[in-house]
Amino acid sequence: MNYSGEQLKAIKEFLYKIADDQLIIGHRNSEWTGLGPVLEEDIAFSSIAQDKIGQSLHIYELLHTLGEKDPDSIAFTRDAKDFKCCHLTEYPIGGYDFSLMRNFLFSHSDHARFEMLSASAFEALANIAKKYKGEIKYHIMHADTWIKQLGNGNEESRAKLQAALDTCFNMALGIFEDSEYVFELKELKVFDGENILQEKWFESISLVLGDSNLKIPDKSSWKPEYGGRKGQHTEYLQPLLDEMGAVLRLDPKAEW
């Protein structure tokens, strides 16, 4: 399909947002490599990280075919203000309770997003989405198991998860910050919109949290943490990007 300049701009912005989310949460999850509370969790977070970083790569490659720079330059040479990831993905790993809850909330939106995109009129994206949703199913399976186990564990484990949910919830609502191109994307049948995605997400996390003795914060306290989609980030993103791009900046011609 041939898109006009303005339409292409809308699509590119949308792709950046998705890929940046995958790349940044992937890097954050990889910070558990070697530190996981048990060996299996170390491997689980490392594998989930590898999946998500790989998923960002193929979307950056798609952006490259649309005229953007090569994937390595996109991933490792931009500054924070050029990134479109949501705040939820940026925060340091914190305790395992925080990382687990973040990954649970994020992976459910991730799965719902790629499920929606499987029907996108932008065929190259739909094909990728069909592939990714099968992989992300394993991320959800992992997250749901732990949320249920710990939510229904003892008072300490439940209290920790509830506190993590309370901390993460407004950050997670920031996933669904709408783009100025929301109508263009809908009109092109590329994506039906963040509102619909948020509804699907809410439905699927509610089912699991309901089975886990955990309470979703009351709607009156919802204050979505927006800004990420517009390039306004937390103080934690730039140091992460500096670290991620350190090797490339040291020697741009190095093979690695």
């Binding site: 491997i43 490659e61 199913k137």
Partner: protein
């Protein structure tokens, strides 16, 4: 110019049987089901499409290079290998020969899922050593993205499964 000895798809597929998955050297990429397109133009230039088993599979670039090297040996005018998602890989695309090759490598092969993954596929996997189904899933994530870790209560050994993916 008419090329008399234009190479056929069959010849290329046969040559690609020699290219193995670098992480599971008993299975060829053809039996793994990741070769999703072969085109040969009138000038004997070959384009191959490979589709990743997992988006984050680090072996993909290695396999692309191996494919290129193998086909170049066939005396074609040029080779191009591309990653493609036109056809999305799933474990039902592994051939019967491929499933046997996985077992030979000590991995429990994935069950046919026909598009639907059920939890039983992961929980009571047949042990590749003794054949018992008295096994437990330890973790769905293993040493590579495509493997899960299980334990056989019968022969008391840990084993890995090539995990089912839709």
């Amino acid at each position: 110019m008419i090329i008399l000895n234009k190479i056929s798809k069959e010849e290329i597929l046969k040559a690609l049987e020699d290219v193995k998955d670098p992480e599971i050297p008993t299975i060829s990429i053809v039996d793994l089901g990741i070769v999703t397109g072969i085109e040969i133009n009138d000038e004997n230039f070959v384009s191959v499409k490979l589709t990743p088993t997992f988006a984050g599979c680090p072996a993909l670039k290695v396999m692309e290079n191996l494919v290129k090297e193998r086909i170049e040996k066939l005396g074609v005018s040029g080779v191009e290998v591309r990653t493609s998602f036109d056809i999305q890989w799933n474990t039902d695309m592994i051939t019967e020969k491929g499933l046997a090759a996985l077992k030979q490598h000590g991995l429990a092969p994935p069950e046919k899922h026909n598009g639907l993954i059920q939890i039983e596929f992961l929980e009571k996997v047949k042990c590749p050593y003794c054949g018992s189904k008295n096994t437990d899933l330890k973790t769905p994530f293993g040493p590579t993205l495509c493997r899960s870790i299980h334990y056989c209560n019968n022969c008391m050994q840990a084993f890995e499964q090539f995990k089912p993916v839709v």
